[in-house]
């Protein structure tokens, strides 16, 4: 069986409680496990402002998942997300074809660590007042 690495980001409506959000994450995680997949990284970004309104929502709660699985898995996952009206948008990206699970797991962790550091540095620089007229 060929296993690919995927990354799925979904956006839920912002006004869900912490527990509902957690339930949803578990539900998605279970689908991955039931379909012979494994979650590498769960990354809830949290509430963000949307660049344009989706279904009359101006904000959304972002969750990003990095996982491996057979090629049938994303289709099933997207089907479930399409049916769930708490999820207003999702995007799946294939990161690797026929990967070695152990190597990929390690790389995914490192990659995620770097991304989190970069993101935090960006957030910190946005809080600082801008110097000069550069944009």
């Amino acid at each position: 069986m060929i296993y690919n690495e995927y990354e799925t980001t979904y956006i839920t409506v912002p006004e869900l409680g912490e527990d509902v959000q957690q339930q949803l994450l578990e539900k998605v995680g279970d689908i991955i496990k039931e379909n012979d997949g494994e979650v590498f990284v769960q990354d809830p970004w949290g509430r963000r402002r949307l660049a344009y309104p989706i279904n009359n929502h101006n904000h959304g709660y972002y969750v990003c998942l990095n996982y491996v699985g057979p090629s049938t898995l994303p289709a099933e996952l997207e089907r479930v997300m399409r049916l769930d009206d708490k999820i207003i948008r999702y995007l799946t990206v294939k990161l690797g074809y026929n990967i070695n699970t152990d190597n990929a797991r390690e790389e995914a962790t490192v990659r995620h660590q770097q991304w989190v550091e970069k993101r935090e540095a960006q957030a910190a620089s946005m809080d600082r007042p801008r110097r000069g007229g550069s944009r």
């Binding site: 980001t9 956006i11 963000r48 660049a51 344009y52 993101r119």
Partner: protein, 65 residues
Amino acid sequence: MSSTKNKDEEVHYDYKDAYSLRRFISERGKIMPRRMSRNTAKAQRELATAIKRARILALLPHLAE
């Protein structure tokens, strides 16, 4: 962030990193052309894909105003 690009060095664009991608869109939300971004053809394709993915996730606008 360095403004000069080394041709030998590969640049990677991540659709999740809207903060960095913002530099490459105009005020109207259009993707910056290669002559302005100074990208190689390969890097420009990657940039365009990243911006389009970011738009799907409402991290970047499809068009502004």
